[in-house]
Chain length 599, copies 2
């Protein structure tokens, strides 16, 4: 349904909201929200990523923020009409604050605001030079001794980090560091991205050779330059690498390759970091104001320590070190673990004629890729979505507008559909002895990703090998190693030339412990997860992903990363926070998250 009554009703709601905000009438403003409502704000009002709940939450937040951030002028977005379906009215909106402009998505239920997403898009006076504001390139007219674009770029490369200090240093140059680097470049925030590899994209190139993105292309775009429409649905890893490399170049990111951070420390008095870098053998000291860890949301590899490992005659690798099956044809390989990497690695080893056994230690959630694409992502990220006018940017906002608190309610029915559609497939896996789960509450893959970042496999073929017994499956826990084998708790002996420990990763603050100090790592606490009180995501409820893309308990330290979708979308909000601080804007943070868990 799409009629003028809906538009009028929505406009009336926005008018009431604007009037209440304008008059500083917080109780009237919060009374517009339903009792089970959620206002999710991305930097615009809270200078934080924050979801407040119900009129009480709105009231508390506005009491702290309204006076200085001054949100207002909420309007229906030009060219977009509100729609109504099943009693819920959905409207694209725009608004302003004292410092910036934003857009968002509002849902009304029974004439109250049910969900409200407000996202900052730009800071007033610091708008990006895009479209009509793009630079001229050639400066017309003649000036004595002017520098060409190339000379200016070269001069910048020579001076930045040496005679001039960057405002921001990003440690880690994967998709996260690159997307953020591009946004900061656009915003005029002097930034250096540090990465230990030889070339941008080597983060992907260096991994096991069968690796492809498990997320489809429509979900994977970087900011500013979209993948062309000839790009494969699931990009092979080396092709991802090439894209990141070219992107880094053409977006003019100051990207230092072969640059490893030895140590970083924060001077509370001066408010700057000291970052000691080994740049291809040369020690360089950087003194940025802001430090961003974009070292991978997976955190540091978890490498378990089993008795006898030191006497094992074969090779032991963490999955992140495994670079493919080529050396292992005809050899015996045990892969410990049953998530994405374990499956990919097992399949590639089987393809290269290795004798492969997977050790499943705990239940795993499996969804077939085609099914996930169709049922899980199709409405937002697909060729059909694009044809329906759901641009990547809109899809990101729609996704961001679903409150984490109730997201499982939207997800559970989708996964029930998937389970039914692929019943035969799941029966086959169970018959093969594979232990399946659907998440603690049946909400499936995406919530597992948000809550714990692990515990699933998007099936692109390995499951059939398990079903067919081509990849052998053993359930149990590793007890110890012997010279030529892995021995499980039940006494099962698995002979092995190679053992791949697909045993996952720690929390990102493990990086902070290594690079900065255990003290800072503990001050910041666990990174990732929602506090959902489900497996590997202990409560209390946080409402947003812990420490990601937002202020932490450590001044001027930030965490950035995630999949390509998150790297694309959330890099904007982190970039705006950094820009605002560089420009000296007042950025009082509402609801800085307390620390409940150290890792």
């Amino acid at each position: 349904m799409l009629d003028s009554t809906v538009t009028t009703r929505t406009q009336d709601m926005l008018d009431s909201f604007n009037a209440a905000l304008e008059e500083g009438d917080i109780s009237r403003a919060s009374a517009l929200f339903a009792s089970d409502s959620y206002w999710r704000d991305l930097v615009a009002v809270t200078w934080n990523l924050k979801t407040v709940e119900g009129p009480g939450g709105v009231s508390d937040m506005l009491a702290r923020q309204l006076d200085h951030t001054r949100p207002g002028n909420f309007q229906l977005q030009q060219g977009e009409l509100p729609t109504e379906e099943d009693g819920v009215t959905t409207a694209w909106i725009t608004f302003e604050t004292a410092a910036g402009r934003g857009w968002g998505l509002m849902r009304l239920k029974e004439d109250r605001i049910w969900t409200l997403l407000t996202a900052l898009t730009e800071l007033k006076g610091f708008e990006e030079n895009r479209g009509k504001r793009r630079p001229m390139g050639a400066e017309h007219g003649a000036q004595k001794n002017r520098k060409s674009w190339n000379e200016k770029r070269e001069a910048e490369e020579v001076s930045l980090g040496y005679t001039e200090q960057p405002y921001t240093v990003i440690i880690g140059g994967g998709q996260g560091g690159i997307a953020l680097g591009a946004r900061l470049r656009q915003l005029g925030v002097p930034t250096i991205v540090l990465d230990k590899h030889d070339r941008p994209g080597d983060q992907w190139r260096s991994r096991y050779k069968s690796l492809c993105l498990h997320d489809p292309i429509w979900y994977d775009h970087l900011p500013y330059i979209k993948f062309p429409d000839n790009w494969p649905v699931f990009t092979p890893k080396d092709k991802v690498g090439d894209w990141l490399e070219m992107y880094t170049k053409v977006m003019e990111i100051n990207y230092w390759t072969r640059s490893e951070v030895k140590k970083a420390s924060y001077d509370e008095d001066r408010g700057t970091w000291t970052v000691r870098v080994n740049r291809d053998g040369e020690e360089v000291i950087l003194r940025p104001t802001q430090l961003v860890l974009a070292t991978g949301m997976s955190g540091k590899p978890n490498m378990p320590d089993f008795p006898g490992m030191e006497d094992f005659k074969g090779t032991i690798q963490h999955s992140s070190q495994h670079d493919g099956p080529d050396e292992w044809t005809g050899k015996k390989v045990v892969v410990v673990g049953s998530n994405n990497s374990a499956h990919d690695i097992c399949a590639a080893l089987w393809e290269a004629d290795a004798d492969v056994t997977m050790v499943q230690r705990s239940s795993t959630h499996i969804v077939r890729s085609e099914t996930l694409m169709e049922i899980g992502l199709g409405g937002l990220y697909s060729e059909e979505a694009v044809a329906n006018g759901v641009t990547t940017e809109k899809a990101d906002m729609i996704f961001a507008s679903l409150p984490y608190k109730i997201m499982h309610e939207f997800q559970i029915p989708l996964y029930e559909q998937m389970r039914e559609r692929d019943a035969e497939f799941y029966a086959g896996l169970e018959k093969a002895g594979f232990e399946l789960d659907w998440g603690d509450d049946g909400s499936g893959l995406f919530l597992k990703y948000l809550r714990r970042g692990s515990g699933y496999y998007i099936d692109v073929g390995a499951s059939q090998l398990i079903i067919d017994g081509e990849v052998k499956l053993v359930k149990g826990q590793v007890d110890h190693f012997e010279a030529d084998s892995v021995v499980l708790s039940d006494g099962t002996r698995l002979e092995a030339d190679l053992v791949v420990m697909a045993t996952g990763f720690g929390s990102m603050n493990g990086w902070a412990a290594d690079l900065i100090s255990q003290e800072v790592a503990d001050k910041v606490g666990k990174v990732w997860g929602l506090g959902s009180d489900t497996t590997k995501d202990p409560g209390p409820w946080e409402g947003e992903q812990r420490n990601m893309w937002k202020p932490t308990q450590q001044e001027n330290l930030w965490f950035h990363g995630g999949n390509l979708h998150q790297s694309r979308h959330y890099s904007l909000y982190l970039a705006l926070q950094l820009k605002a601080r560089m420009e000296g804007l007042d950025t009082p943070v509402y609801g800085l998250q307390p620390v409940h868990h150290l890792s």
Copy 2:
């Protein structure tokens, strides 16, 4: 005006056209065309780039082509309604032929077809894998010993040109060779692009340092990947170079750097070329079926031979060899010529504090860049055009739909506007002694470009230096050189440390003479120009650009190039012609152009 009557009337015309074509009634079909009409066909019906005029021209063409190419099913393009303005109805259309599908633009005047553009977009059964047809990337399921994307690419690089022959070789890897290489890759035509430089993009990087594109960004996109919206309006040359380099990589073009063609010859019996290549010191013989010269529409540098040049103590460079002003600070430089390169080079030398004199040998057409952007290109290629829904692809088609024969009629009023708007500027130039022209018929820059590819400067600042006397201007012809100077016919002596000969370029078939033979160069004849019977574009009227992107008198030899706009748009039609031949489709060419001029 936009009403249903217009739609009905246009639909009726298409129905009549379809019926006549269907029934093979050529006289009825051609009677639908106005007496002063133009049907421009890009490969769809004629397997050529061809404009036929009036009912007679249409009738002649259909008599030869209708039976086998079978154009029909002309429809209004979905989602586009015809518009009427000043008595002209304009409609976006789609159609089919026996071999392919196409789209186009039709204009009706007094219920007859006035202009018709038909452009082939794809061959049936050989559609590009884009959008919904994009490849999967990851092949789901497991297969023994499968190759990764990277392994396949590496294997291709090793075999193509050695154990497997490419179907097409493109000589020249600037924007022309790259755009065509990308399209052929997409169409599955095995192709190697040969270029003598170290890296793709060096064609731009190696030129004088102040060089920027004189055409604005909206006009410059390559196929498949558009420049992002932070890209400058006028791209600096090194940034163009970086973009071309990354594009070559991510579009997976088989691009051989440091590869110079020594000789190419055609074996009429076998129907293949033998191309002898020096690939970074190694001799490689390629045996493609098709050979494309994409060596630059400018052709070979014209280096005049003046008495005394051999005794000149300073440096003499052709403008294409000049790499910037840095060595010439405080030195005397004479630049012979007054077109684009001459102006750019003079301004950059002045900026570096050289003592610069321009020698104007003949009148030059000058338009200020801002004015050209606003009045000349704004409707089709600008931020406003994009906002109005005129995509680059649509703009290309609108531009292509204006028949060359009457294009000057559309252009003259625009240039009259420009002359008026910038009257003061032109008065200043004339006062400084600069000899101006507006083209033989006052039709200005774009027609000069199409007719002769020279004779103009898009002012980005050098003209003010001429007006102010900062760059000295001398009119006349070079007579001879002395040890320290250039002497003009009137006896004027110009002392010089450096003489830059901005004396232009020859016809592209000069490259054919060098790379193949004078015989083939003469068989093919002059390249570029319309036969407009204006300066440097002798008649008779050809109706299309000579020899560009279409079959030539030499079997399996093609010319490709031009600015970024032409490289983008016409590479499609050349690629489809090559693909059709590779697949063995019947491609009877209508109206192969006769040769009237050898160079």
